[in-house]
């Protein structure tokens, strides 16, 4: 038992911080899929773009990390709005297969452009000094960086909760999800809400990419490399279910960390085995509806 406690603390702390990164990145995909029924396999694009901008801007514009991160998120927000109008909006009426094809194509093109711009290597990401070092948490050293990740995740969660449960915007958005035709009939400009949701999703992905760069290194192949992971979370969450996706992300983070800790050889299997079991057990997703 004595040997188990440090292992459990480790898995808890590291698994949760990893899960939070996955959550922040995948939320946008959950929203897009749930609201607009668009299978956006290129979602990782926003995450990696945010990351690249945040780590390249300090040198380019001679600003600090936080300023660069904020700028990067805003830029991705802008780009997300533009792309939604120009590209993603048109996926709305298509069959799922066509959406898959179009977004894969978009992903390919984007990866190619990123490679042209920055080369095929992993990006050198150096977080600022105040994120380095360890603190003592639950009786063990824990990187400040990971504490930051958890705090950021909490803040975002709070923001989302406030947005969806305590603003009229959020209420309207939920109405659009639950019953689109009724919402339209009530005179709500559903399309506008979807566009906003898409933009939010893109910026959240950017935050996730920036904050998570220490765990998911930034490179051009990023959107493809981590697609199975993001898709796993989305699939297990059910459509548009934010609370479920938080639970799922944390579970995935914990299971992956635990798996790799106890049986590193089989580390590659744990998440996907979990996926198979869960999907076969509950095809509609883990939790139903908004709580």
């Amino acid at each position: 038992m004595d040997q188990l406690t440090p292992a459990v603390t480790f898995i808890l702390l590291y698994g949760v911080s990893f899960g939070i990164v996955l959550f922040v990145i995948s939320i946008g995909l959950v929203l897009t899929l749930g609201l607009m029924r668009i299978v956006n396999l290129a979602h990782g694009v926003f995450a990696v773009l945010g990351g690249y901008l945040a780590f390249k801007l300090p040198a380019l514009l001679d600003i600090g990390f936080l300023a660069a991160a904020v700028t990067a998120v805003l830029l991705v927000l802008l780009i997300g709005v533009v792309l939604e109008r120009v590209f993603f909006r048109w996926l709305f009426g298509m069959s799922e297969l066509e959406q898959v094809l179009a977004t894969i194509g978009f992903c390919f093109a984007f990866i190619a452009l990123l490679t042209f711009a920055f080369g095929p290597n992993v990006l050198a990401t150096k977080y600022p000094e105040w994120l380095s070092g360890n603190v003592s948490v639950l009786g063990r050293p824990f990187p400040v960086y990971r504490v930051f990740v958890m705090v950021a995740g909490l803040v975002i969660l709070l923001g989302l909760w406030l947005l969806f449960d305590h603003t009229s915007f959020g209420a309207t958005l939920r109405a659009c999800v639950d019953n689109q035709s009724m919402a339209k009939a009530s005179g709500i400009n559903v399309n506008w809400y979807f566009s906003v949701a898409f933009a939010i999703g893109a910026s959240l992905a950017a935050i996730g990419g920036i904050v998570g760069a220490g765990m998911l290194p930034l490179e051009p192949l990023y959107p493809f490399k981590h697609l199975p992971l993001f898709l796993t979370i989305v699939a297990l969450s059910g459509f548009g279910n934010i609370k479920a996706s938080l639970v799922v992300s944390l579970v995935v983070g914990l299971v992956d960390t635990a798996g790799r800790y106890f049986v590193p050889e089989l580390g590659a299997f744990t998440v996907f085995t979990l996926l198979v079991i869960l999907v076969l057990w509950r095809p509609q997703g883990l939790l139903m509806g908004w709580k």
Partner: protein
């Protein structure tokens, strides 16, 4: 079970239904086969490449059948392709080097495997099915990576060789035998598939795809039919995999990769998911464009392919096959 009214979460693209096959069967379809054969003579230096295109076309056909007619969206079809490839390889290493029977055995193994898997997963549809197939495929890939004694790991299976086809056609570096051998297999499977699709069984598959609830209410054994179709498609994929092994005298882990599953999905949707010729159009186009762009400049191919895919989705509804059929339909009505 999928919700009524939605074909496994799949919305029908264009109405490339079975009745189109009569049309295709006539001149246009034949043209494809003639062109394929012509390539053998027109591009003698590219027969090896041609053989690989034909093998992937067969693989795409196997996937297109499952997707277009049974509505089974899978991101893990490479699993059967790869298993077929490894079975053929191991057979050869064990001394069984007769190619045609080797292919048939591989197809049988993958088909039987798919029956078991199908009964479990085909209760699902749409995104959950997609995810499970993807997860299974990744698990099989990782397992193969670890089982180095069986698969050779990421170094691959070497020392694989085969007896001449029918005892007389020798495998050679210029790819002559590989090309014609693969073309023959493709033709055989295609004819079988076409028969299947226009049979009453095939019609019931369309029904299942369109409205599974109604079909089951009508008394059709939906799951069983899906599993049979799935197993047939898996065995076709296994045949394609075995052909690849025989053509290249090698098996590498990539036959099982997620990338391969994604590639074949792209090829089929590109060509048109609801026509048997979709696979036959999509696979060569995708592979040839990729090949040519890579020769031109290896750095540009991802951009070109990406733009191509987006272009086809937006401007060519129903893929290439859909586009062609519209052209010919218009011409016919004039």
């Amino acid at each position: 079970m999928a919700a009524a009214g939605s074909a496994h979460g799949l919305e029908v693209g264009t109405e490339m239904e079975l009745n189109k096959h009569n049309f295709w069967r006539s001149r246009v379809g034949l043209l494809w086969w003639l062109m394929a054969l012509a390539c053998y003579f027109i591009f003698p230096d590219y027969r090896g490449f041609g053989a690989s295109v034909l093998v992937m076309t067969l693989f795409a056909l196997s996937f297109g059948l499952a997707l277009g007619f049974a509505g089974i969206i899978s991101l893990g079809h490479a699993m059967y392709f790869g298993i077929g490839a490894y079975v053929a390889g191991r057979l050869a290493l064990a001394g069984w080097q007769e190619p045609i029977s080797g292919v048939l055995i591989s197809g049988l193994v993958t088909g039987v495997l798919a029956i078991g898997i199908g009964f479990v997963i085909l209760r699902l549809s749409g995104l959950p099915l997609l995810m499970v197939t993807m997860a299974l495929s990744v698990i099989v890939f990782e397992a193969a990576n670890k089982a180095t004694s069986i698969t050779g790991g990421d170094d691959g299976l070497t020392g694989v060789s085969f007896k001449p086809v029918l005892g007389i056609f020798n495998w050679s570096l210029d790819g002559n035998v590989q090309f014609l051998y693969s073309l023959t297999w493709l033709a055989v499977v295609f004819l079988f598939a076409r028969r299947l699709v226009s049979s009453p069984y095939g019609l019931s598959m369309v029904g299942i795809r369109e409205n599974p609830l109604r079909m089951s209410l009508l008394g059709a054994p939906v799951l069983r039919r899906l599993v049979v179709m799935y197993a047939l498609c898996a065995s076709f994929a296994g045949i394609a995999g075995a052909l690849l092994t025989q053509n290249t005298a090698f098996v590498g882990l990539q036959v099982l990769s997620l990338e391969t599953s994604v590639d074949v999905l792209v090829m089929v949707v590109l060509g048109g998911a609801f026509s048997l010729y979709g696979a036959l159009l999509g696979a060569p186009v995708y592979l040839i464009v990729k090949y040519v762009t890579q020769q031109w400049n290896p750095f540009y191919w991802m951009l070109v392919i990406g733009v191509l895919l987006m272009g086809v989705t937006f401007f060519l509804k129903g893929g290439i096959a859909g586009f062609l059929s519209r052209i010919f339909q218009n011409r016919r009505t004039e």
